[in-house]
């Protein structure tokens, strides 16, 4: 028996069963969410910065007025969630690129997950519990539909 003969697996030995399509869906999601974000973000920028009174019109009243309408609540919620999932998934890719040691990778992934959860939960809460007419605030800073002072 020659000691130097390399042991080769039989060419058609059974391979690991079907691999999950996780990376495939992640790849498709990056492109789909990117395309959606393009529309969402540019409409967002246009309505906030260009249309109406432009940049100078942005104040508490402007934001409060927007979030009083369900359309903009849903719009901003979509931006928040899509950008956060897209961004977090992109960072996951970068962590997988650079973190070679398991410990480093798990630590960074953990930090990423925490940051993701905090921003998404906080942002979602703000969008839905935002009070456009805080009592006691000067009326000239509030949106026009706030009646009682």
């Amino acid at each position: 028996m020659a000691a130097s003969t390399p042991t080769l697996a039989a060419p058609r030995s059974p391979r690991r069963a079907r691999r999950p399509n996780t990376e495939l869906y992640s790849w498709v999601f990056m492109r789909a969410s990117g395309a959606l974000l393009l529309i969402l973000i540019f409409v967002h920028l246009f309505t906030n910065l260009v249309s109406g009174g432009g940049v100078s019109a942005i104040d508490f009243g402007f934001v409060a007025g927007k979030w009083a309408k369900p359309v903009w609540q849903v719009w901003d919620l979509l931006i928040l969630w899509l950008a956060m999932i897209h961004g977090a998934n992109g960072l996951r890719t970068i962590i997988n690129d650079y973190a070679t040691r398991t410990g480093t990778r798990l630590t960074l992934m953990g930090l990423l997950a925490v940051a993701f959860a905090v921003v998404v939960v906080l942002g979602t809460l703000v969008i839905f519990t935002f009070s456009p007419c805080p009592p006691g605030a000067p009326a000239d800073l509030l949106p026009s539909f706030c009646t009682a002072g």
């Binding site: 391979r15 495939l24 790849w27 690129d97 650079y98």
Partner: protein
């Protein structure tokens, strides 16, 4: 037409020569302190010479310890991929005159594989990925008693990826491979493509399955370094995109 009185000049015009400096990244594993270092050599080269010729001159006339791989010296065997002036190329296909030879020419081993000595790297991980994609014809049933026929169109479908010489210029030009050595790399995907799109082959599903791995095609970020690096002019990034598309159509 009669010959003119002046005797025609039959001797080939003298090829001009010039001095060229090679700045080579060296590493001697047997040295007392094995650390990589730069060393410059100046040799006289012909205007028609390639980088490989200049390196031969160094090895044969100045320093026999300079170590690099080459076999065919004509762009066929894929032995001498190296990083020349920051770009992966075959030393045997790169003319000195195309490299601004008045400046030192910087020669380094290809990146992302362990350097064994000077310009020789350990190619084992590269070939391991190549073997993973099963680069051989997979069929079922009885072997036919004649050739497996294929139309010119069917052959053209994967013609580009048959040209690979496994030089590793593409894989070692890929920034994903530099940081994540587990990535299969462009060359393995090119060679999977060669069989996945071959009408005679029946192993496409198995190969797509292998490359659907988290270290498979989805690591590719479309940097196009591989396409630029390939000395055979293979559209590597396009081949990778076609494999991705095949996986997506299969999954949906």
């Amino acid at each position: 037409m009669t010959a003119t009185a002046t005797s025609p000049d039959t001797s080939a015009a003298e090829v001009p020569t010039f001095d060229v400096t090679l700045r080579i990244r060296r590493f001697d594993p047997d040295a007392k302190a094995p650390v990589p270092y730069w060393q410059e050599f100046t040799v006289t080269a012909h205007g028609t010479d390639r980088v490989l010729d200049a390196m031969h001159k160094v090895k044969w006339e100045l320093d026999g310890s300079l170590t690099f791989r080459r076999s065919c010296a004509h762009g066929v065997c894929g032995s001498d991929a190296m990083r020349i002036n920051g770009v992966n190329r075959l030393a045997c296909k790169t003319l000195l005159k195309d490299l601004a030879p008045h400046k030192p020419i910087v020669i380094e081993p290809i990146k992302g594989l362990t350097v064994v000595k000077d310009l020789v790297v350990d190619m084992d991980p590269f070939f391991a990925s190549f073997r993973e994609v099963m680069p051989f014809l997979i069929t079922s049933g009885n072997t036919p008693s004649r050739e497996r026929l294929q139309s010119p169109e069917q052959r053209a479908r994967f013609d580009d990826t048959t040209k690979c010489i496994l030089c590793a210029a593409c894989t070692t030009s890929c920034p994903v491979f530099w940081t994540d050595g587990q990535y299969f790399g462009p060359a393995a995907i090119v060679n999977a493509h060669r069989f996945i799109f071959d009408s005679r082959d029946e192993g496409a599903t198995q190969r797509l399955e292998v490359l659907n791995d988290s270290e498979g095609v989805w690591r590719c970020r479309t940097t196009f370094n591989c396409t630029d690096a390939c000395p055979r002019g293979i559209e590597v990034t396009k081949a990778i995109a076609e494999v991705k598309r095949a996986m997506i159509t299969r999954a949906i």
